[in-house]
Point group: C2
DNA sequence: ATGAAAGCGCTAACAG
DNA sequence: CTGTTAGCGCTTTCAT
């Protein structure tokens, strides 16, 4: 076990003071009028012995950890995994590390996570919040902590946020289905009450209203297990034989829906047309290919990191809140195209 | 901005010493013969004001951070995302947090990541290492840091590891294809040189040898972009029209393969049979459903965390290395079943 | 049973 | 231009 080199060791070796070394290392040589020659000498030696300051001590002293806490709904979900991957990459480029955790939409767990992040003194928070953490997030924001919400908003909390205009996406998708001649378009969603889900539902409702049609909505309980969700959709399809198109509010519901449809032996799009929220390999490659409302993940990640870093580094812009709403894009594929027999 | 409560504050308020509070908080009241009554009083007050010790200070003092560094190849890949999710969950249950990063198989990036983790004093490491970090990982192990490798081994490095017997998986899959009557089974893999890939290839080679058949292997350069990989597979299929079955060594190659097959207008399994490594929604739902060699992810995660915690907490078992090799399971679906016309 | 005090390693204000 | 020094908040030994 090799002995850790300390700042003291390097100061001793070079016969200068600890302060000098610290100043040089933190780029404050100039403003403290330390000679270039000396600064150079310090840097060279530090490099030579591979000295790395103890970040814990540094953080304890400065109060900055250069760690960002990232809270997503489920890291195993392709949407969140992709966004998390992009955020990680971009944060790393700017010198920040990520600690992430999944909430699984569990309010209590999220609360705990938020507490942990505070204990660990993360510099900033990126959160896709479940309902019920308005208090905690609100407190964070009030205390001036850099926070960026994404994917969904928290009613009653004014915080930085990067979301997608789900209503625009679903209304466009619904109109697309109706214009293809499908007449009974159902909307399958989750009863989580989260803002992005409400928005998506509103977009559907509005388009149906425009066409003078009544809504046909299945709301699945978000606490159900996979198999139970498939069952619900299965039952719904059997109970509504006239339904000839379904718009799913989120990626995993579509996956369950495909499963249910396949069990019923229905053909897509002949018997039933499909549109999903979120794109993925599965939807691109499924046979038939699935029409989706795709979220601009790269742009989202850029905005999230951009907003967070501004809050993190631009201490002057106090009390300024940035909210960004990005447009999704409808990628029309085979699953929603009317086939003439 | 509410003032942070310190241990000093609570000691002052209760009119006891800081040490007493600290001892009680760390469950060392008994062994220091602190009266139950006092201990109780401290706990109650701490609870009341919601005091949380500063983890940075604590870590600086104790040298433990209760953070595990997790390095995967790509968090956006469903295999790694799922394993990461499971590891996170299990670690959390045991009081550990996860910092994760993706390597994208970049040796230099991984080196940096490892350095960062050391600077941040993570308590343990879980790594799916790219080749080229044998030095760094070896140094970690020699210095007694708890390390668990997974998915692949590092040649020449004796470290704890949890891997899957890929050779068993691919040989079984190859035999399955051959016994179905497919005669020209190709193996599509990546030239990364990683042990898991070598193992998978060996399993294929062995099964082919058993049947007295010669190998047909496509090795795609692991640095290529998605579209280029698809192109390679596309070319390969055109150049080998007699090939009637393909075994893909990893999930994303299969996805690219499906893309290439679909562009060529080939039917599965009539024109070409398919088996993939790794299971996913896509393979379960694809039409036809895709036969896969599934890795036992839950068991892997259990073993990884179990091994790491043993190394972390059982300081006595010095120098003990645990290597676990888990069996995969062949899930036979439609894509590899011979259809009689 | 309890308190005083010595650090963990680093930063930065201040005094030369 | 450089050195001294006072902490950041906590743990833990040792003396009482």
């Amino acid at each position: 076990m090799k002995k850790k080199t300390l700042i003291r060791d390097i100061a001793q070796h070079l016969d200068v003071s600890i302060a000098t070394v610290s100043l040089v290392l933190n780029g404050k040589a100039k403003e403290n009028r330390i000679s270039d020659a000396l600064a150079e000498k310090v840097l060279t030696y530090v490099e030579e012995v591979g000295y790395k300051p103890n970040q814990l001590a540094k953080s304890l002293r400065t109060g900055k950890t250069h760690v960002i806490g990232l809270i997503v709904e489920d890291i195993a979900n392709s949407f969140f995994a992709t966004v998390a991957g992009l955020i990680e990459k971009k944060a790393l480029e700017r010198g920040y590390r990520i600690i992430y955790c999944s909430t699984n939409n569990d309010t209590a767990k999220t609360s705990d996570l938020l507490t942990m992040f505070q204990e660990r003194h993360v510099d900033g928070y990126v959160v896709a919040p479940p309902n019920g953490v308005e208090e905690e997030i609100g407190a964070l924001v009030r205390n001036g902590k850099p926070v960026v919400l994404f994917d969904r908003l928290l009613p009653g909390v004014l915080a930085n946020a990067v979301v997608v205009d789900g209503a625009a996406g679903t209304s466009q998708a619904t109109r697309h289905l109706l214009s293809q001649g499908f007449s009974s378009v159902a909307f399958v969603t989750i009863n989580s009450g989260q803002t992005q889900m409400l928005g998506r539902r509103q977009g559907y409702a509005q388009a149906m209203r425009e066409y003078g049609l009544s809504e046909l909505v299945l709301e699945v309980d978000f606490l159900l297990e996979r198999e139970q969700m498939i069952q619900r959709i299965h039952e719904f399809l059997r109970a509504n034989p006239l339904c000839d198109a379904i718009l799913f509010s989120t990626n995993y519901l579509s996956v369950y829906g495909l499963e249910a449809i396949s069990r019923l032996g229905l053909r897509i799009p002949e018997d039933i047309a499909i549109v999903s929220f979120d794109d993925s390999d599965l939807f691109r490659l499924y046979s038939p290919t699935i029409t989706v409302i795709a979220q601009p993940m790269e742009v989202m990640a850029d905005n999230i990191i951009g907003t967070l870093l501004t809050a993190l580094e631009g201490g002057d812009e106090k009390g300024r809140t940035t909210q960004v709403q990005l447009p999704p894009s409808l990628l029309i594929r085979q699953s929603s195209i009317r086939r003439v027999h």
